[in-house]
Symmetry: C2
Subunit: 531 residues, 2 copies
């Protein structure tokens, strides 16, 4: 019998802490698409971004607040008035808005990064929570770097946040330093020092620097926490946050023993993981738990032998539980607009009007070159179209000649943002390098390839190629993706999008803006997003 | 003050459990190279393979036992006489040989996979350990799937293994099912049931299916275990084993609090991770703890701001600790054989005679096309040469023509294992697909591309391209790698090697052979390697 007291809230920070990873540059439609999928997945809270960071961040959070229904939509803010105003303005149209504000309580952060005093931190925390509560009934407060802080000082700050009306207290392990027993003990001590904690939701937020993010999160549940902050595919600063899919499946598979449960529809996990991997360009390693290519593979024949005799000999969960069963959708070149629309709906994409026309044109193009178009192909095509809408460059044509006995040559024609056509050609290195150099010449940009990844969307000779590149341009690294039956065409598209993404990305060294002085706080500071 | 009682032994199973991952096909020189690097890393035990599995496995373990000095060299064996004989014969020339034998104690395995009785399992365990001890003073025993077994029965079997002289008892969480508190409690209960356990080394072996492998391993140390079985990059069945680098750095970074320590030279971690990733073709995701591309990245400007003001604001360990500092080795086209040899030695490669000649030729070829050759380039070239020596096909020449307005065309000439030359050409799809189809035609094989990954060894336009492909051929998946300044040339080489690897790989469905009936046991069975 499930107990309400053991219901764990899943707070997804893929679009905030995850999006802070180097090279990720999601545009607004992509963020809305991910948020929509997170809602289908059934997470309780979506941290949609950090609205003060840039107009683009603000608009993406605002669009998610307006268009995505179900979960609480949360915006992050430092303690300054301008941060909190921006967060509120971005989330206020949501059915269930939340403001999340934070400030460090560790001396190492207070002295070296904030360059202020403990008293000032207390004042800022009080003012921030009070200001946020003036707007919104749902306010979360985080004492950043708490696992390296003086627990008594953290307790004072948390008590202040509670006095001012914070409804969730999240205690992050910002630098991924804690160990399970230690992290649980910290919560137990905080509860002793701040009896009011029992009245609100306490939350864990763990980083994986020592490989303990999931275990630390789980130990926090044992100590009474009932919200887990986590991210799809374990994205996030450095080694990332706790993986949503791992903590959710740990709670599901071992529920009989620990009693915790969530509202997540686990059958959406695989699709969510693919969508996030594709749009962020962050690959998932084959041996990643739950969502890696091998997580459910029993290719080594003797394990197969065991699994054939009795599944549970080597399987503690079923691949269908996370949505890995084969979808039955198969389209071909005779499939019409209606069939496409129905298939897309089944996959969770709502496509209409002009978007449907574009998708249909693209689908026909692929179906002409490929016998069957599956659910996985459609996912890739739709994701690619989302990218297309913001690409400032378009690959009009290209030519490549190469071989072991001749000097590689590439020529490309590109439609530029101005509407003009740029052309470029390049001789030397290899053909892929030559193509990218020709694209540099055609666009007048000096992109530098850092990573290049090609994978097949499905098996078989006529599979769609999905290319991801990481390009550095003017000190900014940005990803680009492209999908096509022709790997070179997909490569060219991916490269042009990476260039466009790099040009539209604010270098992180100037991001976010300084926290403006807030009334009563009197200290200017720069600070990183909470943990 | 470090206490000897808190010294933790690191048992590396990259070459056994790791090598069981789908698509990995390491040849003998590659395995010896990895084992040599593990010795430089300072692991205590190398589980070098499963000698009964195939003649190739046997010979690789034997070569490692003869050539790699320092660590204990361990061979895996089921309980049968033939298994144990093979394991002993493979490791006996090592300075410090170990036999590791195992049998399941969970009813689910006993009933469904072994199809035998608890009494028979006891008899097999007794006979196996006794037989192994007849050869070797260092014998490890593992009750497979112990975390899902009746603890009292596991205790009986462990007591038998101890009676027969086992010197290490490893209790694996074969299916990655356990939770930290539970795993520790299991060891505590085993110790109560089997007092003799206090006299030997107890060991943890954890899988990461629920993201808890490192935490479970660590909890085992708290319960008295002093050996950790783990693998580089967390390789292994399904979601893999505990990552060696994560558990080692957890022990190092938090030593002041927990007191545990190892003999690992952490500065070798980054290089070991690169070598294993390159030779296995298993990429490491950017947000992987310790060895991921982002693990030490502070590209998001405000974290950078903090780190610039004071490193420890966002860093709990220094990148140099794991060997990520830039090596000072830089060679150019005027560097001679002596300089190359010295540079290779500094990198831990001992290259002489014919091998030095080959390496020098290859180095010159690269140096002619690339301004500077760095330590990372040399690592890639030497690894590529190791691959070369076993490739049954050689790319003699190729030609590619492609573009948006013409049908892609590729032609290739390949030296076949017979010494003859095969040629093939292909028109259609994209140029990469056309090249691989032409290589299929030239070799007469029907390879099917499943994954294709390209990365740059270093930054810059003239960087070496390193290509990894996963190809399926006749039901076998195999990896291949290639390195060249020209991506297409590297791709062609990688594809041919994958084809050769697939042809030389025994399909895992017939691997390993059935465990021959052993005297006194009377039951034929098939079983998977221990956990």
């Amino acid at each position: 019998m499930r107990q309400d007291a053991n219901r764990v809230r899943i707070f997804d920070t893929t679009l905030r802490d995850g999006e802070q990873s180097p090279g990720i540059s999601l545009n607004r439609p992509e963020k809305v698409e991910i948020a929509g999928q997170l809602a289908r997945l059934g997470v309780d809270v979506i941290e949609a971004g950090f609205p003060i960071a840039s107009p683009g961040d603000f608009e993406a959070v605002e669009a998610i607040a307006r268009e995505v229904h179900g979960p609480v939509i949360c915006g992050l803010a430092r303690t300054g008035v301008a941060d909190i105003d921006a967060a509120w303005n971005a989330v206020k149209d949501s059915e269930r808005p939340r403001i999340h504000t934070f400030i460090s309580t560790s001396d190492i952060h207070i002295e070296h990064q904030l360059r202020t005093t403990r008293d000032d931190v207390k004042g800022q925390a009080r003012a921030a929570v009070a200001h946020a509560r003036g707007y919104c009934e749902d306010v979360e407060f985080s004492p950043m770097d708490a696992t390296r802080a003086d627990i008594e000082f953290t307790a004072e700050v948390v008590a202040i946040a509670l006095e001012e009306g914070a409804t969730t207290i999240n205690v992050p392990d910002t630098v991924g330093y804690s160990m399970p027993g230690e992290y649980a003990a910290m919560f137990e001590q905080l509860q002793r020092l701040v009896p009011g904690l029992a009245e609100v939701t306490t939350s864990v937020h763990c980083h994986d620097d020592l490989g303990l993010a999931v275990a630390n999160s789980f130990s926090g549940l044992g100590a009474g926490c009932r919200q887990v902050e986590c991210a799809i595919n374990g994205l996030g600063e450095r080694a990332g946050n706790a993986s949503l899919e791992e903590i959710v499946m740990l709670l599901r598979v071992r529920e009989a023993e620990h009693g915790f449960w969530t509202g997540v529809h686990t059958e959406e996990i695989a699709r969510t993981s693919r969508l996030v991997s594709r749009l962020t360009g962050y690959s998932v390693q084959p041996n990643k738990a739950i969502v890696g290519r091998n997580a459910f593979a029993h290719e080594s024949g003797i394990h197969q032998d065991g699994v054939l005799k009795e599944r549970s000999t080597y399987e503690i969960m079923d691949a269908t539980t996370i949505g890995l069963e084969q979808s039955s959708i198969v389209l071909g070149k005779h499939s019409g607009r209606h069939a496409l629309r129905k298939a897309l709906e089944e996959l969770g994409f709502e496509v209409d009007g002009a978007a449907l026309n574009t998708a249909f044109k693209r689908f026909k193009d692929v179906a002409d070159r490929k016998k069957t178009v599956t659910a996985l192909d459609l996912e890739a095509i739709v994701s690619d179209e989302m990218r297309q809408s913001v690409s400032a460059y378009e690959l009009e044509s290209f030519d490549i000649e190469a071989g072991s006995d001749r000097v590689p040559f590439a020529r490309a024609r590109v439609r530029l943002p101005s509407g003009d056509t740029g052309t470029g050609s390049f001789t030397g290195d290899g053909p892929v390098e030559a193509l990218f150099s020709a694209l540099n010449a055609a666009t007048g940009q000096e992109g530098r390839l850092k990573e290049y990844h090609v994978s097949a969307v499905t098996a078989g000779r006529d599979a769609l190629a999905e290319v991801t590149v990481l390009v550095e341009l003017g000190g900014v690294s940005a990803q680009g993706q492209g999908v096509s039956p022709d790997t070179m065409e997909a490569s060219g598209r991916a490269y042009l999008r990476a260039i466009a993404n790099a040009r539209s990305t604010t270098p992180r060294s100037t991001w976010p803006p300084e926290n403006p002085t807030q009334a009563g706080a009197g200290t200017e500071f720069e600070e990183a997003p909470a943990s």
